[in-house]
Point group: C3
Chain length 347, copies 3
């Protein structure tokens, strides 16, 4: 259980101007609708700001311009959504992980561990691994030889990092994720797939968060690269030699094929599939379910998902889809016919 947090503490944490009782004890964060008298909530959009007399929240994060609409305790900030994000950290109830190495963990003698690391039960740490200050490995994490993890990074339970994977500072990797497995590389010859051993590593920058059950393959020769500040969701497949530019966001169930380059500050919505060996410009955005067959030089917003229909309409339209080229020819023929009739009818 998290104990209550004083409003003054929260004001410092989110850099807010406090109006009301600085000693007010906040029990938890809550939505406007669900908040009770001991809860803190937040308003980030104009449309909610009109109904602040209806919330039971004991304290609110909001903008100066909305402050008059609420009678309770206030944390006044320029960006309430950001302040909510900052405040949320104080209420996080993540399982404790005591500093030091759990007795059941198996750590190679050659591993170089900062004094402040926490290594959970049943972890396995390979030869020459380097862990920075405050690195936390939750139970069941396996690190191959020569893995390096920067300060303040957190690896959740049952994650696997293969040999030579490098992860920056302040990263978080969620459970079940695998980083550094072999890329899908085979030389077809003599009627069989001949394995190309994957000699590159995976290099991940600072401030990267990776969701659960995601898979990031090591490079064939050179490294797979994830730059600073990238966020990746659950069940994402990142193939060998992919590069993802700084600040890009990759949502759940996305697949990125080998040697694709995604630019900086891109957003890739859920269930998108990106072809291999293509380059996507910085600041490109893809709607959910898009099949990205080719790259783009200029930023833009792209999509390909076909429209949702009742099965009855979908069946009929699907038949016509397979006839599209023929339908197009028939339109052209009609245009010609009509053209010639117009000529005919001229005197």
């Amino acid at each position: 259980m998290v104990d209550c947090i004083k409003l003054s503490t929260l004001a410092s944490a989110v850099d807010a101007e406090l109006e009301g009782d600085a000693d007010f004890e906040v029990r938890k964060l809550a939505s406007l609708a669900a908040a009770q008298s001991s809860d803190l909530s937040f308003v980030s959009q104009e449309r909610y700001a009109k109904h602040l007399d209806q919330t039971k929240a004991g304290a609110l994060i909001l903008k100066r311009e909305w402050a008059a609409s609420f009678a309770g305790n206030k944390l006044i900030v320029a960006d309430p959504y950001l302040a909510y994000a900052q405040a949320s950290e104080l209420f996080d109830k993540l399982s404790r992980l005591p500093q030091g190495i759990h007795a059941s963990a198996v750590v190679a003698d050659t591993a170089q561990l900062a004094a402040s690391v926490a290594i959970g039960a049943q972890c396995v740490v390979g030869e020459n691994v380097k862990l920075g200050e405050n690195v936390r490995l939750y139970p069941g994490v396996v690190l191959g030889d020569n893995v390096e993890i920067g300060d303040d990074s957190l690896i959740h339970a049952n994650v696997t990092l293969y040999h030579d994977v490098r992860l920056g500072e302040r990263c978080m990797v969620h459970s079940g994720t695998v980083i550094g497995s072999d890329g899908f590389g085979f030389a077809p010859a003599q009627g069989r797939w001949n394995k190309i051993h994957q000699l590159g590593a995976v290099v991940i920058g600072n401030d990267v968060e990776i969701g659960s059950n995601t898979a990031i393959d090591r490079g064939a020769i050179e490294d797979t690269l994830i730059e600073d500040g990238v966020i990746i969701d659950n069940l994402v497949h990142i193939a060998h030699n992919v590069q993802i530019g700084a600040g890009s966001a990759i949502a759940g169930c996305v697949g990125i094929a080998g040697s694709a380059t995604v630019g900086k500050r891109c957003t890739v919505a859920g269930a998108v599939a990106i072809n291999g060996h293509i380059t996507i410009a910085d600041n490109s955005h893809f709607h959910g379910g898009t099949i990205v067959t080719k790259g783009n030089d200029e930023p833009g917003v792209f999509a390909s998902a076909p429209p949702l229909q009742s099965v009855k309409k979908w069946r009929r339209n699907s038949v016509r889809y397979t006839q599209l080229d023929e339908l197009s020819s028939r339109i052209k023929a009609l245009e010609k016919q009509l053209e010639s009739k117009v000529s005919d009818s001229k005197p």
Copy 2:
């Protein structure tokens, strides 16, 4: 190895009327085609009932109306497919897991375990975890602090449940699945993604089965909810604050984005992607590969997947797809032209 099971035992288990040798020893369940003289098979569809003279099965589960077509031992029931499901349990050869706590498991002193639990090798059980009667944790399972699991639930090997996750009674979770990882929530500000710590839990009802390598995120503020009797397949992504209504079935490779609500008794076929913040009515059904961009108020059957084509036809039709709006305008223009010609030709 499973020993043989007496037909009388099976008759009791599936509540069948037994015709034939009650002491007949069944070795295993088999399909009609593959069954041998010591095997039990079943008939659930009319079309198979016509060929019962061809099966070598020593015993059959079938309906009364088909009983005359088969000379061997019979288990007569109203719903043979249900009876087959019930009988299958007796033949399950799941790895043994002895009651008690394996010596290699690490269990917090504050955990509250029913006397009948079985905790496998290399498991890790966090602080204040509560496990009901007959809960089984297969090897390598990691439970964060405050996890609660109801009576008779079974967690397969290498599953991770984060802190505060609550799972009901008679649930089954398959290997590699992660429940309670952080939702994909970030406040974009100052040119970076600022993490919103995910404070909600995941609450799962009774009689829920979850496949392997699935990921279910905890809620941002309130909880992610999976109601009673929901079945979820492999590699499914369920984002934060999703709600899935009782009795719904979610097939493999489905992704459900944040705050989507799926009604009760829905079926979602494989590789469907469901958009965030939409509501899907009870009793809705989605064909495989559908991109569900919007919600629906009325039940129905929906689809969106484009038709399968040879690459040659697909290439041509795809070009026309990108010209659809233009083709539509040309049809309209033709209609107008023809309309005016008709007017012209009037005297």
Copy 3:
């Protein structure tokens, strides 16, 4: 760190004709562009063969016909890409796994292990498991009862194989993958999903490689089958009773529904979804993102993904997609109208 490898050693390994310094010490494999004077690179395509004066590589794998274009050390072969694959094995820096059973592993007394096996830390090996010569289990692997693994197979960290799974020789399974979880089989009756216990196993041939976080379900009654030489990428879902023919390649994020049969030597590109209970002919090929709704008798190349468009064009064309059947009717009407006018105008 891998020590240097003599060029003569490499020549033997890839069965090449060596031209130059047989004692040349190769430090690593590198791409043509990145290679330094101590590196080995390779040329597999004509277009690169023209620019061999520009690489700094100390040695090259290439064809006889290109040999004159390069002044350095040469390994001359008929198939340079295959030779590169063969050479890559010598440079692989996979984490060491000493022969024997790690002290922290839990291995059942009834397990039958070849003398040369290596079982890593925190592994769990069930009753009656059989492991062949040189089988390697990396840390955290869990094998259920009666699992059988053939000679020279390698299982990476945190993989789970359920009871009765059989894996052939020279296979590799990457981290997080689950083999043998229950198929998604339920009998709907009495308003609930009644579990059908999955009694079949998974049988996997020789020389099969399976990527990370993939899930392969056991059969309902009979076995799920993966034949020799199949390669499967990351995050692939293979449902119960699927059969995959020898030599087929299944790329990342593919889902194959229950009882589908994929022929031999097929290639299934990324993010393809294959319907259940269909049969795909040998030598069939599917483009990325294809929804395979029906089987095929003849080999061919198939696709279904809709074209990538700017959101603006996509929105407009999507509306027309939902009107396709109507547009088709309007074309037909125009054709009839014009037909009748032609008749009218005949004298």
